[in-house]
Amino acid sequence: MKQFCLAFFLLLLEIPLGAWGQGLFLRGRVLDSVSGQGLSNVNITMVKPNHFTITDAKGRFNFQSLTSGDYTLVFSYIGYASVEKKVHLNMQSGAVVINMLPKTESIGEVIISGKSEARKLKEQAAPISVINMSDLAGTVTTVVDVLQKTVGITMRNAGGVGSSSRISLRGLEGKRIGFFIDESPMSDQSDFVDLNDIPVDMIERVEIYKGIVPARFGGNAMGGAVNIVTKEYPDKYGDFSYEIGSYNTHKVQAVFKRNIKSTGLLISGGGGYTYSDNDYTMKSPYVDSLKMKRDNDQFKKFIFALDLKATKWWFDEITLEPTFADTYHGIQGYKRDFRKAHNTSKVYFVSSTMKKKGFFLDGLDLDMTSWVSSTYSCLVDTAHIRYDWHGGMEASPSKGGGELYSYPSNSNDKKTAFLNRMNLCYLINNHHSIEYNSVFSLANGYPKDDLRESTLEKKTMFNSRMRSLTVGMTYNYTAVHSKFLSATTLRHYNYWMKTKYTNLYKFVDLPEDVDLNKSAWGFSEAMRYQFSPHFTVKTSVGYEVRIPSENELLGDGISISPSGKLSPEKNRSFNIGFLYNLQDNPSHLQIELSTYYMYLTDMIRYVPSVLGGQYDNFGKMRTLGAEFEVKADVLPCLYSYANLTYQDLRDKRDYEQDSQIKNPTKDLRMPNIPYLMYNAGLEFHKRNLFGGRNQNTRLFMDLSYVHEYYYDFEMTNLDKRRIPTSTTVNLGMEHRIHDKYYLSFQIKNLTDERVISEFNRPLAGTEVGFKIRYIFN
């Protein structure tokens, strides 16, 4: 009830404030002249006075703080002919509508257009949600905040700032969900990057692929993927922000960019420092009536990156981006009061991107990214005393110390990795195009922990060499007037791993060589048909596979034994979605309904035993789901959204593993996965709400509801252990002055709801944050 009162309060606020608007603003939309779709990220330059902006996901733009007069706007977008438009602005001026024509060049009878067009068409066929950060600026502080608002997604956080976050997309999570930054896979070997490491101010948009993952992403994702697209800043740009929040959280970020036009070089850089004590008080999951203050979850991260881009060399664009990140994170105890155990890591990362249209052949476009990284990570767990939450202490089990396990750790692990992603797209004509995609990754691991080895009295971790190659071919078909789109993809996965393994429980045997080679095929087909400018239907089928992860194949050297026989997981999926979009209506109503079916076989599950355990292929899971979302500009100053997710995941195994024992949990709902949740939000935005000029204010409220879900397979008719329903409300405000100064304030979990994440980990209650940002350009 509290949340509805707040919503009502915001609605009341809107009525008198709506009359406070002052000044003139120039707004409009940019459309594809062929499809009529809004174009996002179109660069718009106002010649005098010199202003710059880009369109949002719906193609909308807005210049503020203008006076009556004539203005010249230049619209430019890759793959489209630039448009220059003169506009007279006065009190009666309406919205400007710009139609941009795809750039085409005639060479004989072959029509060739830009690669971005083909890519764009393919993206439109795939089931995808796109979140434009310009719509959310100031209302979110992390990528997790963004994803949590998205239909079909739940986030699994382990704790405070810097804690690991797992995406659960349509009930699938972990390694099954791909994580990409600018289309480069981050989840396979680059486990040093977490979702929340990416400053939201540097993000252009977040793309969420559901069910099937476009081939160009390569990687090893099966149930979906999240691609974070970073910003392309204006030629001359600077951005500085500072945020302070609960539990002694501080975030400082800075970005600069400079275009040296005479040389065609763009130099940009950015960095950030995040610090948090994360010392919130939580109710113990294990001891009755005990409240404990987190005292070993301190997080520090420093990250710095440079970006050198050349646009006048043979390539249309070639970039070099060195990055460095340094992280410290304490390890919070729950059963025990850990006081010293912590992780550190240092990452050196260099990436390069090359883009070229007409790559040795007219119509052939190249987009290639490569990166190399070197990671040094340490787990330091050498405390000789263990504490309980009552202050009691005892010696660590091992003479070498250790709070976490029965042995100490002081590791110095090194990993070097290389990745190359290549996309070649050949547009045969306006109706047909083909794409070749490959992603090759290499990772060599060099674990080292002398202290652990001396305690275990044997070496259990060995150097490893991993190679993987994903090759995909995609055929895109676009019917006349772009009403019908189709993307057919065939992929092949290959994975090699060489390392050694030793049986922990034997003393004299020599390590065995491990030489694994796994391969699999995948297929997907995505189609879109536009019945009218307002009504679109999308459908897709997929047969996707996931190669087992290193941990699943090789174990952890201690309690998880290797399982080299593991087969890839396979997922058959079918999606159909309906999109109703009233773009031209002032209310901008958008309604989307998606339904899907998935059947996962050879599901990899952990099999415990008396001494440790190992992974095995014995799971089958069927998912039926529906997602419904409504977005609307209810009033010119009030935007609202609501989405509802229902996902029904059921165990489908006929028998227990390696036996003819009937599976007692067949057809039962899969535990530990939410099945009903909804989100809703309101955003009120008003110019000069507090008086003055050239100011814009946004007030927002988000509500998130997760229905109680099952802790276990539910077999009993008696009382059941369930993870309780949670309803959280976030409030916030952003105030912008002259498009240069941004002030934002947020309250998360307003009602101090007790929220428990996976593994019985309590999350923080009410949190507040304040942020100031300055942009100079």
Binding site: K283, P285, Y286, V287, D288, K335, D388, E394, A395, S396, P397, S398, K399, S406, Y407, T455, E457, N503, L504, Y505, K506, F507, I558, K565, M603, R605, Y606, V607, P608, S609, V610, L611, G613, Q614, D616, G619, M621, D651, D658, S659, Q660, I661, P664, M670, P671, N672, Y711, D712, M715, T716, N717, L718, D719, K720, R721, P724, E753, R754, I756, N760
Partner: protein
């Protein structure tokens, strides 16, 4: 209120379930008609000569992550032929139970989950036969990560609860469930800071506590292949001495979760069953029994018996590890032994436990025909009157089997849904 819902929910479920089970365990057959845990739609029952007993059954079902799941306990008035978990009460995954009668009072002790996430409470449930009511469970918080799964009743006011993790014995008054003392064993640890106290037994005013002396891998140290036992005066709670059996190289004298691996014969000889390296280390195959004879406070190597190279009649295999056992009298032990040849690369799903009858006097081992090989996750054995019951999770079925040591007859008596984890008859 909402913020406390989960904790309350879990507490209520666990409390209510155990109370119900504990209470119903001692109700009569007729009163069980109202017991939701024994309604006929969830189980098939058959009248047996044991029909006056009340059966407490515990089964476990794992979640997909394999690391969590549920334990279900159910009470039935008569021995069922099959049960499901529809009327089972949930407990933490793989919670070990132990029923005891102390000063005429029937108690059920529930230990923290051993292999899964759990709190650290030892819970005691009491049944009042006069009022047919059960009291609120009394709880005692043990050390976090205690790895406790068994206790030994010393007297009406004292019991020893070995805490394998921190290396101590917590002394508890079972009637008040208050901690009355602690016996620190860490000074007897080899190489590390805990000697890993496992199970123990009381004889003539002394408590014989096995010390497993395992390393960080949870296996015995390579250079310490012996069995240590601390002898504690039950009046003073002081360790009087630690004795060692070094001649046989047998190790791991009793598993912390299986108190029946320490037993006393009719002649008061104490035996410890040694599982060694669980059959996983072919270089150290020693497994079997070691003995502290009646009237002595030291091992008698002549009474030790390493069974790893003993032929098993009725089988082509030999015992790679003595996995669990139950002494049933007259020198007969009913046991599970691990068979190395059946431990294939999928050791965690393989069925490699063989049910055997071991004759301590004749030094012979016989395979019990009619009981299939079982998964190592399940190794329950208990004796009820003249029958021995064994939990079996084979490739074709799961449930409890009975074995009559006198007639050598074995048959399946209860089909279960999930691992047949524990059974008790009040």
């Amino acid at each position: 209120m909402k913020k406390q819902r989960l904790t309350q929910l879990i507490n209520c479920v666990v409390s209510a379930g155990l109370l119900m089970s504990a209470g119903l365990c001692v109700t009569s057959c007729s009163s069980d008609d109202d017991n939701p845990a024994s309604t006929s739609d969830t189980s098939d029952s058959k009248e047996t000569p044991n029909a006056t007993y009340n059966y407490l059954l515990e089964t476990c079902v794992a979640n997909p992550d394999g690391m969590s799941g549920s334990t279900y306990i159910q009470k039935l008035a008569t021995m069922p032929t099959s049960i499901n978990n529809k009327n089972g009460t949930q407990l933490s995954f793989c919670s070990y139970l132990q029923a005891e009668v102390i000063k005429g009072q029937k108690y059920l002790f529930a230990f923290p989950a051993y292999f899964a996430e759990s709190d650290s409470y030892l819970r005691r449930y009491t049944y009042d036969e006069q009022t047919q009511m059960v009291s609120t469970p009394k709880k005692l918080e043990l050390t976090p990560q205690n790895f406790s799964a068994a206790l030994t009743v010393v007297s009406d006011t004292k019991m020893y609860v070995p805490e394998c993790g921190p290396g101590k014995i917590t002394v508890v008054n079972p009637q008040t469930m208050e901690k009355t003392g602690s016996i620190d064993l860490t000074s007897y640890a080899y190489k590390d800071n805990s000697p890993e106290p496992s199970c123990g037994i009381v004889r003539d005013g002394y408590y014989y506590q096995s010390l497993n002396q395992v390393g960080a891998t949870m296996m015995p140290y390579e250079d310490y292949r012996q069995c240590d036992v601390a002898i504690i005066n039950t009046n003073t709670d002081k360790v009087e001495k630690v004795i060692s059996e070094k001649t046989t190289h047998m190790t791991y004298a009793s598993r912390p979760i299986l108190p029946s691996m320490v037993f006393s014969t009719e002649s008061k000889d104490i035996y410890f069953a040694c599982c060694g390296y669980f059959g996983m280390n072919s270089d150290h195959p020693e497994t079997g029994f070691i003995c502290i004879p009646a009237g002595k406070q030291d091992f008698d190597s002549s009474k030790a018996w390493d069974i790893h190279d003993v032929a098993i009649e009725g089988s082509e295999y030999k015992a790679a590890s003595l996995w669990n056992c139950e002494y049933v009298g007259d020198g007969i032990v009913v046991a599970f032994v691990a068979v190395r040849e059946l431990m294939d690369s999928e050791a965690y799903t393989a069925r490699y436990l063989m049910a055997v009858r071991i004759d301590l006097n004749k030094k012979k081992i016989y395979r019990i025909q009619g009981i299939p090989y079982s998964s190592a996750t399940v190794s329950f054995i208990d004796q009820i009157d003249n029958l021995t019951y064994m939990g079996i999770y084979s490739t074709s079925d799961s449930g409890f089997y009975s074995y009559n040591p006198t007639t050598n007859d074995a048959e399946k008596v209860i089909s279960t849904v999930g691992y047949p984890f524990y059974m008790h008859v009040f």
